[in-house]
Subunit: 270 residues, 2 copies
């Protein structure tokens, strides 16, 4: 999906919500466990319940891989089920040298047909380049994450006075453009968004951490939005596990709709 | 596998060779493509041919994932086939927040029963901690890699004058011990090994980049070895694809043996 189509979807739906499909067998309603493929059954119901309220789905690879080959089958079926006008993100945080990176690009862009994949920047440009050669696909680079330990390295001060994550933004934004790169910035880092927007005014940001991790949607929007909205705000657990009962899909729909209503208001479209 | 058992294997075999199972359908001998599971058939033959010459196998997840669910089945069968006295490394370079990291730990340590997994340090301690709570399992952190773009971030100078990879070593080595952590240091970075050994004298290093990537075994050993050997040197393509003919396994055995002979000499055991 290209940038213009993504922006159009956001405006059409009055939503920049991404639903994180962190589907965990330990957490889904127990009545689904008797299904042949509980993960796919759960995802299907969640997608049906939320697709009018969101513009993106973000399966987290860890939860599918933990189930071995069967997990990747559930993922494949889930990807086939997601409507083509919804942006898809493989939350995989990969990063490896050239020929391995090319193989991961093939995995996510071809085998599973994702629109985008999250990448760790540590190994530098040649670990990202293979992801930028696919037309209509996106590399989403980790910049400043929502976890406590972001201070360990991401917020280390460099010789030139900037933080490591700022160097990552400055350097890596030269490798592609705002048409094929996005950045992960945690919602708990709202105060850093002003500075981040000085470095990358145009790029879309994927913002996890609203909800379970404590980030505020209003603050993220205030400091992070740009002329093309420029935000995909993710919620996973708050939507997926809103209810553990038979009404889980309805509860998920209602949580997603609440966020959509706030987002519509923020977008000034209501 | 614990440290004492790994060191014992190295001394017994006169080898600190790790064979990288970067098995790529495009590169394996074409006569194998008619097999039901060409990747597993290839891996099985490579394992049979090299197990007397190496102490570790390192499947590279990218190549298995690129084949979707069937790739993970090939990986699972490969893992079951590797003898228990050989150390196994999931070359996965994962790194994510707490509950996701826990799910990746489950993936590699439980679902696939690896002894260890490679991890990217960017997100800090809470992306590594879940991997350190498994007894007898190892987290192998990226420090200084063998690719050209290691200069982009790994070799950035920090405010305190050290390189980022040195900060990664200093900080992360406090999270566990040399009994459950190792570091990736590329063989092309031999000149940095002296400095690295000042920071982490006791840890094992996983050293890729000998062979196809141009690193020298002698230099790695001269600057990187410690009292418990402290090295696992990886070769992937140079062994796997030594021949594309029917004699591929024999050619692989011969390449692995050449490295073993050099290593035995280095270890002073011949």
């Amino acid at each position: 999906m290209n940038r213009a189509d993504l922006v159009e979807q956001i405006k059409k739906k009055g939503s920049f919500l991404c639903v994180g499909l962190d589907t965990d067998l330990q957490k889904i309603p127990t009545h689904l466990l008797k299904e042949e493929d509980p993960v796919y059954t759960f995802n299907k119901a969640i997608i049906d319940a939320t697709l009018d309220h969101c513009v993106a789905y973000k399966p987290n690879l860890a939860f599918y891989e933990a189930m071995g080959p069967a997990g990747l089958e559930s993922l494949q079926k889930t990807m086939e089920y997601i409507p083509k006008d919804i942006f898809t993100i493989a939350d995989a945080k990969r990063g490896d040298i050239g020929n391995t990176a090319a193989s991961y690009a093939k995995t996510f862009y071809e085998t599973f047909n994702f629109d985008s994949v999250t990448l760790a920047p540590y190994m530098g440009r040649d670990s990202v380049d293979p992801f930028l050669s696919y037309k209509g696909k996106w590399a989403i680079i980790l910049a400043l994450t929502s976890n406590k330990s972001a201070v360990d390295f991401e917020m280390l001060k460099m010789e030139n006075g900037s933080y490591l994550y700022e160097e990552v933004l400055k350097t890596s934004s030269q490798w592609g453009s705002s048409d094929n790169m996005m950045y992960v910035v945690g919602a708990t880092q709202a105060e850093a968004l002003t500075q981040i927007r000085k470095i990358i005014p145009d790029h879309f940001l994927l913002v996890p951490g609203v909800g379970a991790q404590g980030g505020s949607l209003e603050e993220v929007a205030r400091f992070g939005m740009n002329k093309d909205v420029g935000l995909l705000v993710n919620s996973s657990r708050g939507i997926l596990y809103a209810s553990k009962g038979e009404d889980f899909a309805q509860a998920a729909s209602s949580e997603a709709q609440k966020l959509q209503v706030q987002m519509t208001e923020i977008l000034g479209l209501q």
